[in-house]
């Protein structure tokens, strides 16, 4: 099972490297979003400093759905059938897709975070904590996105539906990540929010693994 996950994980990343959808399309699009917000609300530097981190998390949430919905994440019918015939557990497919999504989302988050620091200049004490907050948030978003992709894939399905499925369910992730960052700004405790991120991730992982087989039957 672990070998299957590793092989599929590498295949997902290889597909993405060939397609370049995240790095060449979604990342620049996210950067543009971060760039145009000050044009809409005005060049009020203290205000931008205040809203910068929150804006970053909103961009990550919204553009994270695009990362989850990337072309390279969806398996063709024939490829899926081949994997089924080869005896690959659907849970392994879910795990590999979620892990690849986490890596790509973290990459997006690192670039977007760097741009946020440059454009908005937020003051964050102990930025090292972001090393825990970012991967936990990205993992949760990737798992929600992977489940939504599986649920909305196939003939007749509307792929535009996925963001509507992902965003409301991702509210705990958004709140926990944003409040943890706010805690870092205010030098307050963030363990409660980190705990929430961990609990959400565990529940999503369980839900993804347990529902992988019924979705496979589709």
């Amino acid at each position: 099972m672990i070998r299957h996950i590793a092989i599929l994980f590498r295949a997902h990343l290889r597909d993405e490297r060939r397609a370049g959808e995240v790095t060449l399309v979604i990342v620049p699009f996210g950067m543009v979003a971060l760039l145009v917000v000050p044009m809409a609300i005005g060049i009020d530097t203290p205000l931008l400093d205040r809203i910068g981190p929150g804006l970053f998390w909103v961009v990550l949430l919204l553009f994270g759905t695009l990362v989850s919905q990337r072309q390279s994440a969806s398996l063709s019918e024939s490829r899926r059938d081949t994997l089924t015939l080869l005896g690959v557990d659907p849970a392994a497919r879910f795990a590999a897709a979620a892990m690849a999504g986490t890596v790509l989302l973290t990459l997006f988050a690192v670039v977007a975070g760097t741009v946020t620091f440059m454009l908005y200049d937020p003051e964050i004490a102990n930025p090292a904590w972001l090393g825990a907050i970012l991967p936990l948030t990205c993992a949760g978003l990737a798992m929600v996105g992977t489940i939504a992709t599986a649920v909305t894939s196939g003939p007749g399905a509307r792929s535009s539906l996925a963001p509507l499925l992902v965003v409301p369910v991702s509210v705990p992730l958004l709140l926990a990540a944003a409040q943890a960052t706010e805690g870092l700004r205010a030098s307050a405790g963030i363990l409660r929010w980190l705990l929430l991120l961990c609990v959400v991730d565990v529940i999503l992982a369980l839900a993804g693994v347990l529902t992988a087989r019924p979705l496979e039957e589709s």
Binding site: T152, G156, V171, L196
Partner: protein, 236 residues
């Protein structure tokens, strides 16, 4: 055909309406408080609908009987209506009492999130023609979404808390006068029976829609060479 459940729902709703109008007004809020006889039961039904969708989804995945999916879909639709009603009535009540149509209170945010989760659930159901594919995927999403609701609840409670705490379901004596409590409980009970009647009706409509959409006997399903066999003693 009118079912006994429909009659019971109508009678109880009429009783709750009369009770809601004849009980004395609230000492502080006056007649505005009567909005609670619609708002509170609607919010209760929003949670009940979610729970029903979850249970029916799990039951479908375990048994693969379409009846459960029809109930889950019906409950989702009724849930959207009552969640929307809870939001609208709460907003109408909030304007004169809080001074705003909307505020970033934990319970308001949670209800709004539930509304959109429901909308997503219904949109997902409408995007598949095959009833079994629809049932499987909607069940999975229903389970994942409902599993998140307690987390949404805690996250928004930790985030903000402005909405008044529980008035009836609280340790010790309820902080509400007897006649007002009776009217509220009658409304909750009536709405629950209305919910059961609506879900029952809608589930039946879902079953009939699937029956109409299913290929009929003699209809080709895999080229002209393979047709649906006639069903002995049944079919449409």
């Amino acid at each position: 055909m009118i079912k006994p459940l429909d009659v019971a729902a109508g009678l109880m709703l009429a009783t709750a309406l009369v009770l809601g109008l004849v009980v004395p007004p609230d000492a502080v809020q006056g007649d505005l408080q009567r909005m609670m006889y619609v708002h509170v039961p609607s919010a209760w039904l929003a949670y009940l609908s979610f729970a029903t969708t979850l249970v029916a989804g799990i039951a479908y995945l375990r048994t693969r009987r379409m009846r459960w999916d029809h109930i889950a879909g019906a409950s989702g639709e009724v849930g959207v209506v009552f969640t929307g009603l809870a939001l609208v009535t709460g907003s109408i009540w909030g304007k004169p009492v809080w001074g705003v149509w909307w505020t970033w209170d934990a319970r308001l945010v949670l209800t709004a999130v539930m509304f959109f989760v429901y909308l997503g659930y219904l949109a997902l159901r409408r995007s598949f023609d095959d009833p079994e594919v629809r049932a499987r995927r909607a069940s999975v999403y229903g389970i994942v979404a409902v599993a998140q609701i307690p987390l949404v609840h805690f996250s928004v409670v930790w985030w903000r808390g402005l909405h008044q705490p529980a008035t009836v379901l609280r340790p010790g004596d309820p902080q509400i006068d007897g006649p007002l409590l009776a009217a509220l409980l009658a409304a909750v009970f009536a709405f629950t029976v209305v919910f059961a009647a609506l879900v029952s009706r809608r589930a039946e409509v879902n079953r009939l829609e699937d029956l109409i959409a299913a290929p009929s006997a003699g209809e080709p399903v895999a080229g002209s060479g393979v047709a649906v066999p006639p069903i002995v003693g049944g079919g449409r």
